[in-house]
C-alpha cells in the first residue's frame, strides 16, 4: 500500500480494566412487547388464505343473529329438527354441485336428476315392491346414469358444461314428466309401508333426523376426499388448472368424468331421501333446485371458484341461504320475492368476489407499508470526525477481487489468512492468502449470504437472507442449521420463518446469536423497512447442542450487526434505523437490551472487534436532516410511497459511509470515510486481521484492504477470540 496517511490509533489495550462495560449503568432500551397497528392487522389478514372463507362465515353469523333477534324460538330444537329433515336432500345436492364445480364444471341437471331418482325410488318401492336397499341402489344408479351422460359429454368429449347439463336438464325433466304422469296415480294408490323406509324418512337418531346424519356422513366423506384422497386432490388440481394437471400426469378427462358420476350418485341418494320423506312426487319436484344450489354454492365459496373443495364453507353458505329462504317464506314473503332476493344476493356476492379477487393484491400492496413515527436523537460525539472534517481514508484502500465477486456483504478471514465472502447469487467465495488473487467458490448455498462467523470447529457459519442459518465446512459441505424460530403468540401472520438472517456472532459456550433484520420484507425490499421504521426485526439464538432456535428478543428495529464484546459476556446489536448500538447481557438476556451507543452519524451495519479492545462499526450510509424529519412523519412517508416513484423517494444518504472506530466503552475514536467516487461505497462490514482492515459492501463488486499502522500485526479475529474463551 503506497504511502498511507498515518492516523492515530489507540494503543492496544485489549484487557484493560478501564475498558470493561458497566452494563447496569447504561440506559434501558424499551422494546415494545406487542406491535399493534390496525393497518398491519388489516394487511396481515388480507394476505391470509382463509380470508375468502371468512366472508361466508360472517354472512352466516349475520343471518343467524338477525333471525335470532327478529323471531321467537326459531332456533329451538323442534324447529331445527324440522329444518334438518327438510334440508338434507338439498344439502346433498349442494355437495354434489360442489364436486362438479371443484373439477371446473357445472351441473344444471341436479334438479331434474333428483326428481328422476325420487321417481325411480317410488317406482321401485311402491310398484315393483323391491326391498328398500335395492331401491336405494336403483335411485343412486339413476342419478349416476345422468352423471355418466354429463361426464361423457362434458368430460370425455369436452363439450361446454353449461349447455351440456342444460340439455340433460330438459331431457331428464321431460322423461320425468312423462314417467310420473304415467305412474303417479298408481304410486299414490299404493299402500305399501316398510319399517326401514319409514325409518329413513321420519325416524330420529340421537335426537336428529336420520336423513341429517346421512348428509353429515356424505359431507364428512367429501371433506376427507378433498383433503386426503388422491381422487379428491386430482379433482382440485383439474379444477385449478387443467393444463397443469395434465402436464402433472393426471388423467384430466377421466377425473372430470368421475366427478360428474360421483356427483350424479350423490344426487341419486338425495332423490332417495326425498322419496322416503315425501312418499310422493309432484310435477314441480326439483324445479329451481339448481338455482338454489348454485346460490348456496356461490355464497359459500364467496364466488364461483373452481378448484376449491371447501365443504365446510359451502355448507355454511347452504345454511345461510336455507335459513334466509325459510324465514322469508315463514314471515309471509312469496316465492317471487325470495327469487328476487336470491338473484340479487348472487349478483352482489359475485360482484364483490370478482372485484376483491382482482384488486386484492393492490389493496394488499397499498396497505402493507405501515410507517410509524421514529424520533432519532441528534448526532452525538462526532465533533471533528464528520466526513467534512476528515480526509476520506478509505479512498486509500487497496482493491481485492475487483469485478470477480458480487456483493460481499460480510468478509471474514480464517486463521491462515484466507479471505471469505458471500455473493449476491448465493455463493461463498474464498480468496486465498497471501495476495487474494486466487478466487475459488467454496460452496453454493443459494439465498443471499450475509453475515459470516467461524465457530470453534473452524467451520463457517453463514446468515443467509431468505434461508436462515447455514454451516459451511471449509471443505465445501453445506448444512442448514436453522430456518425458523418459535412463532410469536399474538401475530396474525405466521412469523416462524427466518426471513432476513443478517449477521451473527458466536458466544464462548457455542451459542450462535443472529439477527432476523425484518420479518416483513425480503432482501430486495429492505429499504421499505426504513420507510416503515417499525420494530420488525428480532434477535435469535441457535444452540448447536440442542439444535434449537429461539427468539431472544423480538420487536427490534432492523437489528443488523451482531458482535460479542471482548469479555464474552455481552452482545452488541446494531439497530440500523435508530442509528444506535444496543447491548445485551448474556447472563440475563430476559432483562432486555440497553443502549450502548446512540446518535450515530449514519446507519450502523456490522460490528466487529478491534485488536485494541475496541470495536469497528460499519456505517452503510449517512443520516441527513431531511430523512430524520421524514422519520418523524409517518403520513408523509406513506403518501410518498404511494405518489412518488421509488427512484425519487427520500432515503438515507448511501453515497458516503464508512467505518467508525470506537473504544471498549463506546466512545468514538476515529472515523474512516469513503469517498462518493469510490473505490468503495456503502460499507457494510469490516474485519481486522494482522494489522489491516478488510472492507465489504453489500453492493460492491470488490473488497477493500486498508493497512492499519499501529495496530497489533499478529492479531486475528478467530485466534483472539478462542484464546479468551
Amino acid at each position: 500500500m503506497a504511502g498511507p496517511a498515518p492516523f492515530p490509533m489507540r494503543p492496544t489495550d485489549g484487557n484493560n480494566v478501564n475498558n470493561s462495560i458497566k452494563f447496569n449503568s447504561l440506559t434501558r432500551y424499551k422494546v415494545p412487547r406487542l406491535v399493534l397497528s390496525p393497518r398491519r392487522i388489516f394487511s396481515d389478514i388480507l394476505s391470509k388464505g382463509w380470508v375468502e372463507s371468512a366472508i361466508p362465515l360472517l354472512g352466516f353469523l349475520a343471518v343467524v343473529i338477525t333471525i335470532a333477534l327478529t323471531t321467537d324460538s326459531y332456533f329451538s330444537g323442534s324447529n331445527m329438527r324440522i329444518l334438518a329433515l327438510y334440508g338434507a336432500d338439498t344439502g346433498l345436492v349442494i355437495l354434489a354441485l360442489l364436486i362438479v364445480v371443484a373439477v371446473g364444471g357445472l351441473d344444471l341437471s341436479v334438479g331434474s336428476s333428483l326428481a328422476m331418482s325420487a321417481f325411480v325410488a317410488l317406482y321401485g318401492f311402491h310398484i315393483l315392491e323391491l326391498p328398500v336397499l335395492l331401491v336405494l341402489v336403483m335411485s343412486v344408479a339413476s342419478g349416476a346414469a345422468v352423471g355418466v351422460v354429463n361426464g361423457v359429454l362434458a368430460g370425455f368429449m369436452g363439450c361446454g358444461a353449461l349447455l351440456t347439463t342444460l340439455g340433460t336438464m330438459i331431457t331428464v325433466r321431460g322423461l320425468f314428466t312423462l314417467a310420473s304422469q304415467a305412474k303417479l296415480v298408481e304410486i299414490s294408490l299404493s299402500a305399501r309401508s316398510d319399517d326401514l323406509w319409514d325409518w329413513v324418512g321420519f325416524a330420529q337418531f340421537m335426537t336428529l333426523p336420520v336423513v341429517f346424519w346421512v348428509l353429515a356422513c356424505v359431507a364428512l366423506l367429501t371433506f376427507f376426499m378433498f383433503r386426503q384422497s388422491r381422487f379428491g386432490w386430482h379433482i382440485l388440481a383439474v379444477g385449478g388448472n387443467r393444463k397443469a394437471a395434465r402436464n402433472g400426469g393426471i388423467g384430466v378427462k377421466k377425473t372430470i368424468f368421475s366427478a360428474y358420476v360421483l356427483a350424479g350418485a350423490i344426487v341419486g341418494l338425495a332423490g332417495f331421501i326425498y322419496a322416503a320423506r315425501q312418499n310422493s312426487i309432484a310435477a314441480d319436484t326439483g324445479i329451481g333446485l339448481e338455482f338454489f344450489a348454485l346460490t348456496a354454492l356461490v355464497v359459500g365459496l364467496g364466488g364461483f371458484v373452481p378448484g376449491r373443495g371447501a365443504v365446510v364453507s359451502v355448507l355454511l353458505g347452504f345454511a345461510t341461504i336455507y335459513f334466509m329462504n325459510n324465514v322469508l317464506v315463514n314471515s309471509g314473503f312469496r316465492g317471487d320475492f325470495v327469487q328476487l332476493v336470491m338473484g340479487s344476493v348472487i349478483i352482489v356476492i359475485l360482484a364483490i368476489d370478482v372485484r376483491f379477487r382482482k384488486n386484492r393484491h393492490r389493496l394488499l400492496a397499498a396497505t402493507y407499508l405501515d410507517p410509524v413515527a421514529l424520533k432519532l436523537p441528534p448526532v452525538q460525539n462526532m465533533t471533528g470526525l464528520m466526513p467534512s472534517d476528515l480526509a476520506p481514508k478509505l479512498a486509500e484502500a487497496t482493491v481485492l477481487g475487483s469485478g470477480e465477486i458480487d456483493g460481499p456483504e460480510d468478509v471474514i478471514l480464517d486463521a491462515g489468512g484466507n479471505l471469505y465472502c458471500g455473493t449476491r447469487d448465493g455463493r461463498i467465495m474464498r480468496l486465498a492468502a497471501p495476495d487474494f488473487t486466487e478466487i475459488t467458490v467454496l460452496a453454493k448455498i443459494g439465498g443471499r449470504p450475509l453475515g459470516l462467523a467461524f465457530d470453534a470447529a473452524g467451520d463457517l457459519i453463514v446468515c443467509v437472507a431468505g434461508m436462515g442459518l447455514v454451516r459451511v465446512g471449509l471443505n465445501g459441505d453445506v448444512e442448514l442449521l436453522s430456518d425458523q424460530t418459535e412463532r410469536s403468540l399474538v401475530q396474525v401472520q405466521d412469523d416462524t420463518s427466518i426471513r432476513m438472517g443478517d449477521d451473527l456472532d458466536i458466544a464462548p459456550d457455542g451459542t450462535i446469536y443472529f439477527t432476523d433484520a425484518t420479518k416483513r420484507y425480503d432482501m430486495e425490499n429492505w429499504g421499505l423497512d426504513l420507510l416503515e421504521g417499525r420494530p420488525n426485526g428480532r434477535l435469535l439464538s441457535y444452540d448447536p447442542k440442542t439444535k434449537k432456535t429461539r427468539t431472544v428478543c423480538d420487536n427490534l428495529i432492523f437489528p443488523n450487526g451482531v458482535c460479542l464484546t471482548h469479555d464474552g459476556k455481552h452482545l452488541l446489536v446494531a439497530s440500523t434505523w435508530t442509528c444506535s448500538i444496543l447491548i445485551f447481557d448474556l447472563a440475563d438476556l430476559a432483562a432486555g437490551p440497553r443502549v450502548f451507543m446512540s446518535g450515530l452519524a449514519g446507519y450502523p451495519d456490522n460490528i466487529n472487534r478491534a485488536s485494541d479492545g475496541g470495536y469497528w462499526i460499519a456505517l452503510a450510509g449517512m443520516r441527513n436532516p431531511v430523512v430524520d424529519l421524514a422519520m418523524k412523519l409517518p403520513a408523509l412517508r406513506l403518501r410518498m410511497s404511494k405518489q412518488v416513484p421509488p427512484t425519487d423517494w427520500l432515503f438515507g444518504n448511501l453515497n458516503i459511509g464508512g467505518v467508525l472506530k470506537v473504544n471498549g466503552t463506546g466512545d468514538i475514536k476515529d472515523a474512516l470515510w469513503d469517498r462518493a467516487s469510490g473505490p468503495l461505497y456503502m460499507i457494510t462490514s469490516m474485519r481486522e486481521h494482522k494489522g489491516a482492515l478488510y472492507l465489504g459492501g453489500v453492493n460492491n463488486n470488490k473488497i477493500g484492504r486498508l493497512d492499519l499502522p499501529g495496530a497489533d500485526p499478529d492479531w486475528t479475529g478467530p485466534n483472539r477470540y478462542r484464546k479468551e474463551s
Binding site: 369436452g158 353449461l162 349447455l163 340439455g167 338473484g343 382482482k358
Partner: protein, 300 residues
C-alpha cells in the same frame, strides 16, 4: 324436413309453411339477439326474462290507458336498462356473462312478479287493446324480418358489429388493440334485450297474455340457443352470421311443427329438443373443437 314431408300428413303444404313462419317470428327475433351475444362469445340466459318483462311493462302501461307511443318508449327504455345492466355487470364488474345473466334472470322475474304482478304468473291483456291489434296479422312476421335485417346490418356494417366479431375471436387481443370492448359489450346485451322485447310483444299479442312461466320452464331459452347452435354459430364465438340463424331457425321450426303434427305431447317435444340440443352441442364441439385447457371460469 324430408322426413316430415314424407311421413306427416299436411306437413308439405303452403298453409302449414305460413303457420311455421308466423309461429317462428318470436323465436327468430330472440335468436337474432342470442346470436349476436354468442358471436361475441357470451351467453344471455336472461333473454326470456327480458322478453316477458318488456311485454309485461308494455301491457301494463297500455292497459293503464297510456297511448301506444309513450308506452312503447318507456318500455324500450326499461328493457334497454335491463340490457345495459347485464352488460355493465359483465364488462365493467367483470362477472362472467353466464353467471350474470343466470342471476339477473332470477332478479328480473322475481322483481316483476313481486312488484308488478303481485305474485301472479299471468298478465291478461284485453284482446281489444291497441297492442294486440297492432301486432296481429302479418305484423309479427314483418317485425321479425325487420329485426333480422337490422341484426344483419349491425353485424355486417357497423363498428359495433365488427368489434363483436373481434370480441368473440379473441377478447384479450381486441382489448389490447384498443377496441371499445366494454362499450360494445354493453351494446350487445342492450341489443339482445331489445330483440327480446319485440319477441315478447309478438308472443303477448298472439296469446293476449304475458306468461312468466316460460322463464322458469325454460324451453324457449333452449330453443333460442338451439337455433343459434344448430345454425352453425360456434359457442366459442367469433364466427357465423345471420344466415346461420336462418338455417337453424328453419331446422328447429320444422322440427317443432313436425312434432306437433305427429301429435307428440309438449313433454315429449321438450325431451326431444333436449336430445337434439345435446346432439347439436356434440356436433358443434366436433366441428369447432375447443381448447378446454385454456378455459377460464366464464367458459363453461
Amino acid at each position: 324436413m324430408l322426413f316430415f314431408s314424407l311421413f306427416v300428413d299436411g306437413f308439405a303444404n303452403l298453409g302449414n309453411f305460413k303457420v311455421i313462419a308466423s309461429n317462428s317470428a318470436a323465436l327468430l327475433m330472440l335468436s337474432c339477439g342470442m346470436g349476436v351475444v354468442i358471436i361475441s362469445r357470451g351467453l344471455d340466459l336472461s333473454i326470456v326474462a327480458a322478453m316477458v318483462a318488456g311485454a309485461a311493462t308494455f301491457g301494463i302501461l297500455t292497459v293503464a290507458g297510456w297511448s301506444v307511443f309513450p308506452a312503447f318508449v318507456v318500455t324500450v327504455l326499461a328493457v334497454l336498462a335491463i340490457g345495459v345492466f347485464n352488460g355493465w355487470l359483465i364488462a365493467y364488474v367483470e362477472i362472467p356473462g353466464m353467471l350474470t345473466t343466470l342471476a339477473s334472470a332470477m332478479v328480473i322475474t322475481g322483481f316483476f312478479r313481486y312488484e308488478v304482478l303481485n305474485g301472479e304468473y299471468l298478465l291478461m291483456l284485453p284482446s281489444d287493446s291497441r297492442a294486440v291489434q297492432l301486432l296481429s296479422g302479418d305484423a309479427p312476421a314483418i317485425l321479425a324480418v325487420l329485426v333480422f335485417i337490422a341484426s344483419w346490418l349491425i353485424l355486417r356494417y357497423t363498428t359495433m358489429g365488427r368489434v363483436t366479431y373481434a370480441l368473440g375471436d379473441n377478447a384479450a387481443a381486441a382489448r389490447l388493440s384498443g377496441l371499445p370492448v366494454r362499450l360494445t359489450t354493453l351494446g350487445i346485451y342492450a341489443f339482445a334485450a331489445l330483440t327480446a322485447l319485440f319477441a315478447g310483444l309478438v308472443v303477448a299479442a298472439a296469446s293476449s297474455t304475458v306468461d312468466f312461466r316460460i322463464v322458469t320452464n325454460g324451453s324457449l331459452l333452449f330453443e333460442a340457443i338451439l337455433v343459434v347452435v344448430l345454425g352453425g354459430i360456434p359457442l366459442r364465438g367469433g364466427r357465423g352470421g345471420m344466415r346461420n340463424i336462418l338455417v337453424g331457425l328453419a331446422l328447429i321450426a320444422v322440427l317443432r311443427n313436425g312434432m306437433t303434427l305427429l301429435n307428440l305431447t309438449t313433454q315429449t317435444q321438450d325431451m326431444f329438443k333436449g336430445v337434439v340440443l345435446l346432439i347439436a352441442i356434440v356436433i358443434d364441439n366436433y366441428i369447432n373443437p375447443r381448447d378446454t385447457e385454456n378455459d377460464t371460469v366464464g367458459d363453461l
